[in-house]
């Protein structure tokens, strides 16, 4: 365990990660798992399962429900956190709110919830997110200000995530299509192995879902992974974003539906309810980068976090990074001098195989770090990091307790 520089922004108290639960991630299409299920109902399922796993915590003692969604309309509207407190039957006294930082929605929810605990304002907070991209196709419900383009504030490509990934290839010529496909294949393989090993049983709960054709059915495993994917399969795919481009459906995250969240607690709550937390939030960063190459965000976010703590990349026992695009991941690995198959980076695979329901994904990353800690008793420090649309990077430093 390295010495951490704790002289900067020492918190008043700790925010402990107690537990996390998510539903299997579905494909965002008419025949996907959740085509006939509401986004808020998915979230209710996760919240109730989380509370059932922690029966000592009285539901009405939850101080806040912080829930992220990028599209805050329809079944993701009506101030989700508060809606969910009511729908999940937590009691009228439990407040909540919705927030949005695009892909880092749930990551921000965890940070905000953690901060409320760290300053001593709250003791038990549910933080998570949902994105039903089948009901809310990306960008379909927004109206970008024309000044973005007329004032040349951003390039037109900045608003289409796949184009930003192609831009990243331009920026990092060493990140070739082939290396990206190789990385993507690794993601599929790692997810397949983790599934076979029952890794996700730690935080995935089944759900009963409605389909007009089939009636009710039970879903238990992620729908997105394509086991048996080969390099041959991947190289055949073409980029929809640019003629001769490198970014394909095979080396990018999918369009998905998913929901889940975590329970964070103060030291006092941990003691009062006899909880056994896995880890605590040590620090976090958010940074801004060029919107046209938003995928570079994790690099400065991580640099800033490591620098502040006086750590180097090698001090981290596990890194869980959102795989929006393989190019973004490979650029990150190159920057920190890590190999494509670094064993402690996304050890259970990532969004390329599992899918990326935008605002939800940050919660999944935290759950996978916690699962890694549980399975690897020597691991002390973990990092979750994400790139974010419109050019941001986000990171949380986790420490085992």
């Amino acid at each position: 365990m390295p010495e951490l520089n704790d002289t900067i922004r020492a918190p008043i108290g700790d925010a402990f990660y107690v537990d996390g639960v998510r539903l299997p991630i579905g494909r965002a299409k008419d025949t996907g798992y959740y085509a006939g299920t509401r986004a808020d109902d998915l979230s209710v399922r996760a919240i109730r399962a989380l509370l059932e796993r922690n029966p000592s915590v009285p539901a009405d003692r939850i101080d806040d429900v912080v829930w992220a969604a990028t599209a805050q309309v329809g079944d993701q509207g009506l101030t989700l956190g508060r809606s969910l407190a009511i729908l999940a039957g937590l009691g009228n006294q439990v407040p909540g709110y919705a927030l949005d930082r695009m892909c880092a929605g749930a990551l921000t929810a965890i940070v905000n919830a953690g901060n409320a605990i760290r300053v001593g304002a709250q003791d038990l907070v549910l933080a998570g997110g949902v994105e039903h991209m089948g009901h809310h196709p990306m960008g379909a419900e927004v109206d970008p200000n024309p000044r973005f383009l007329s004032d040349k504030l951003v390039d037109g490509s900045a608003l289409v995530m796949g184009n930003t990934a192609e831009n990243l290839h331009d920026e990092f010529p060493a990140v070739t299509r082939e290396r990206c496909d190789e990385y993507a294949l690794g993601s599929q393989e790692r997810v397949g192995k983790a599934q076979a090993d029952g890794v996700f049983d730690d935080h995935v709960v089944p759900a009963t879902v409605w389909s007009a054709e089939a009636g009710w059915q039970v879903v238990r495993v992620d729908e997105h992974p394509r086991p048996g994917t080969t390099m041959d399969d991947l190289v055949k795919l073409r980029s929809p974003f640019r003629p001769g481009g490198y970014v394909t459906a095979g080396n990018a995250a999918g369009l998905n539906d998913g929901a889940g969240g975590v329970l964070l607690a103060s030291k006092a709550a941990v003691e009062e309810y006899g909880l056994t937390p896995t880890m605590r939030i040590r620090d976090y960063t958010f940074v801004g980068v060029a919107p046209e190459t938003m995928g570079s965000g994790p690099i400065p976010a991580t640099e800033k976090l490591l620098g502040r703590a006086g750590l180097s990349i090698g001090d981290l026992d596990v890194i869980d990074m959102n795989e929006a695009f393989a190019v973004q991941c490979v650029a990150f690995l190159d920057h920190f001098g890590l190999p494509l198959d670094a064993p402690n980076v996304n050890p259970y695979g990532g969004a390329i195989a599992m899918g990326h329901p935008l605002a939800f994904s940050g919660a999944r990353l935290a759950m996978q770090v916690a699962t890694y800690f549980k399975r690897n008793p020597d691991a002390q420090l973990g990092l979750t990091t994400m790139c974010v649309g419109l050019g941001m990077g986000a990171a949380i430093l986790w420490e085992r307790v």
Partner: protein
């Protein structure tokens, strides 16, 4: 629509603990307003699903559930119309056969009652090994006996085995006869119709988890029911209750009790099923069930669609007023306030009356607070909406004004004239008169087209009918508003032309007039009441006089005698009793005996012989048939179904009589008296 039937959709789940589980969903592909029902196609679909399951050797358990908000609400009633005995028996056996296959599946089965679960829906659930019920399920019930049939797909045989005799009797017979009361989820659970009550937010997930534990043996559900416990008492009480409610006029509750008793005493299940099929063969083709299906459609479907409502935009209401704050006015004010939640003006000439009105209206709100139905702040808000006044100025700006003053034409005309001074041109004037001419009341106004009748029944809070009187020349907007208000007040509005005493009072007056005539023949009050109740009516004529008030009943009779002297004759006995100043015929403070003074007032014709019960009933029904025929001929109503809706909702005539006209048609009395059926084939075609 006719293509939509309930399909049984099968999916499978690979449970890591329990192994392969089947999930069987009942879904008719429609939204929750069109609930899952069972007809031949649905049973065929279930049979197909069971065939498919039989080919799956590795299934370890089955979860049966419904679509959103609905489990299943039982047989499709529309298929019952005109069904013969063999069809009924075959329908019963068809359900038995396929439900028995579900019951005989070689692995644990769990019915997850996620929503409304009635009749055949509850029966299919009882054929599963276990049941969960969601806190969000709207109702769990056996409504069959209410419709003069009985649960014929194993319900009478399984309910006592699973929930015990008392609960089976209550659910199948007592509740059904008690205005078709339903069990809420907690009650269904507490009475043993479900093994677990599960929060709606996690219902299916938790039900599935329970099934997994039942399959693995991690959880067991033991049900120790002695079906004979309390059986004799339950049966005796229920028979007495049925006698009081239907007076033997429909066989359904009695047959249901026999079947429950058979099962509770350990009767063989297969034989019990066969007895159910026999009972269906007897009951379904019978007049009572056929009339019930007809009545159910009238009340649940036709009346709710308000076929009389003109295609005009109702007036938007911002303020309402009641003129005349006496006993009736106060009830009307209370109802309007609670249901419309609009500024309300109570206008009267007497401060004392207004004070008592205020006590009534505020007292009713306080009762709601005490019952926890509304919060104190809401009650204060509603109280604050009311103005009690002696000045017409305060009525200014009201959009809907209903008068409930004394039944005097000159008084009502004067009040309407005063109201017109302060009201906007489009404001609507409604009268709660029970017998006066609405057109005449309006005739002196500058805008007579704004006046209509809106006749409630006492007690207003309980009786669901309001007769909406349509005078000649009334504005469509006024009528549309009246039907709109009726709906918002949660009352069933039935349209009636501007004829003396409208529908219900005119018919009751004629019908009950025969009871008064019977007195003259030497029949006794009680015998007459019992004879009439033998039709299945909740009350006899003389009991009813006591409820509505002798003077009110007599006033209606007078009005009708004036309008139709050929057949409405004021009997001296009735006049003498009505003028006696007694509260009614029976002294309820003395065990319901007839007041001695009343007895002394009755004069019996010289040499008259008392009528038999049958003759009393026949006389009443023939008079009613004659009057129904005249109502159709003189345009009081356009359709005999309007009469039936009125008699069911306003006079408590039973479903199994189909109100009144249906019964008169079924028994041939209308043909004998009027020369035709009252309900025409065309009426049926429209329903």
């Amino acid at each position: 629509m006719t293509d939509a039937y309930t399909q049984f959709k099968l999916t499978y789940d690979a449970s890591p603990t329990a192994g392969r589980l089947a999930v069987l969903t009942m879904d008719n592909g429609q939204d929750y307003k069109k609930p899952n029902t069972f007809g031949a196609q649905a049973l065929g679909s279930l049979s197909d699903a069971l065939d498919e399951l039989a080919t799956q050797t590795d299934v370890k358990g089955l979860l049966l559930t419904g679509k959103h908000f609905i489990f299943a609400v039982g047989a499709d009633l529309t298929q019952f119309t005109g069904m013969d005995a063999e069809g009924a028996r075959a329908g019963g056996r068809g359900g038995h056969e396929v439900f028995a296959r579900l019951m005989d599946l070689p692995f644990p089965t769990l019915a997850a009652i996620n929503g409304a679960c009635m009749g055949g829906g509850l029966e299919i659930a009882l054929h599963c090994d276990y049941r969960t019920v969601s806190t969000g399920a709207a109702a769990v019930a056996f409504p069959e006996v209410f419709l003069s049939i009985l649960p014929g797909w194993g319900g009478t045989q399984l309910a006592p085995r699973i929930a015990g005799a008392q609960n089976a009797v209550d659910a199948i017979v007592v509740n059904a006869l008690n205005n078709n009361k339903v069990m809420k989820p907690r009650e269904a659970f507490e009475r043993g119709f479900a093994d677990r009550l599960i929060d709606s937010a996690v219902f299916l997930d938790e039900s599935l988890a329970l099934l997994e534990r039942l399959v693995t043996g991690d959880e067991t559900i033991a049900r120790e029911v002695d079906p004979t416990a309390g059986l004799d008492e339950a049966l005796a009480n229920a028979r007495a209750f049925a006698d009081a409610k239907v007076h033997g006029a429909t066989r359904a509750p009695y047959l249901a009790l026999e079947l429950i008793e058979f099962a509770a005493r350990g009767g063989d299940l297969a034989e019990g099923r066969e007895r159910e099929a026999d009972a269906l063969a007897e009951l379904l083709p019978a007049d009572q069930a056929q009339a019930s299906v007809y009545a159910f459609d009238l009340v649940q479907s036709r009346a709710k669609k308000q076929p009389w409502r003109p295609d005009a935009q109702p007036r938007r209401l911002g303020k309402v007023a009641v003129v005349g704050a006496g006993l009736m006015g106060a009830q009307l004010g209370s109802l309007h306030l609670q249901r419309l939640e609009l500024p309300l003006v109570m206008k009267d000439i007497d401060e004392g009356v207004l004070g008592r009105c205020r006590e009534h209206i505020e007292g009713e709100l306080d009762k709601l607070v005490a019952k926890g139905r509304i919060k104190p702040g809401k009650a204060e808000f509603l109280k604050g909406l009311v103005t009690y006044t002696t000045s017409y100025e305060d009525v200014r700006g009201a959009d809907w004004v209903i008068e409930a003053v004394l039944e005097r034409m000159d008084l009502k005309q004067a009040i309407f004239a005063d109201l017109e001074e302060v009201l906007d041109e489009g404001a609507i004037l409604a009268t709660n008169t029970s017998s006066l001419s609405v057109g005449e009341m309006a005739s002196k106004l500058a805008h007579p087209e704004r006046v209509l009748g809106f006749h409630f029944f006492n007690p207003v809070a309980i009786l669901p009918l309001v007769e909406v009187i349509r005078p000649e020349g009334v504005a469509d907007e006024a009528m549309a508003t009246a039907f709109d208000v009726a709906k918002k007040l949660k009352k069933t509005g039935v349209q009636c032309a501007d004829r003396p005493a409208f529908i219900v009072n005119r018919l009751l007056s004629r019908f009950n007039g025969t009871a008064v005539q019977a007195l003259r023949r030497g029949n006794d009050f009680k015998q007459i009441d019992e004879a009439i109740k033998g039709l299945g009516l909740p009350m006899g004529p003389f009991e009813l006089f006591g409820l509505v008030g002798l003077k009110v009943a007599f006033h209606t009779a007078e009005t009708l005698a004036e309008a139709y002297p050929d057949r409405f004759v004021i009997d001296d006995n009735f006049a003498a009793i009505a003028n006696s100043d007694l509260p009614g015929v029976y002294d309820w403070s003395a065990g319901g005996e007839v007041y001695a003074q009343v007895r002394e007032l009755v004069e019996v014709d010289e040499g008259a012989t008392p009528l038999t019960d049958d003759e009393i009933r026949r006389m009443a029904l023939e008079a009613a048939a004659d009057e129904c025929g005249r109502m159709l001929d003189d345009g009081t109503v356009a359709d005999a179904r309007d009469i039936d809706t009125g008699m069911i909702m306003g006079a408590g005539f039973p479903f199994f009589m189909g109100g009144l006209c249906k019964h008169l048609d079924q028994t041939g009395i209308s043909q004998a008296v009027v020369g035709r059926t009252l309900i025409t084939a065309e009426d049926h075609a429209q329903s």
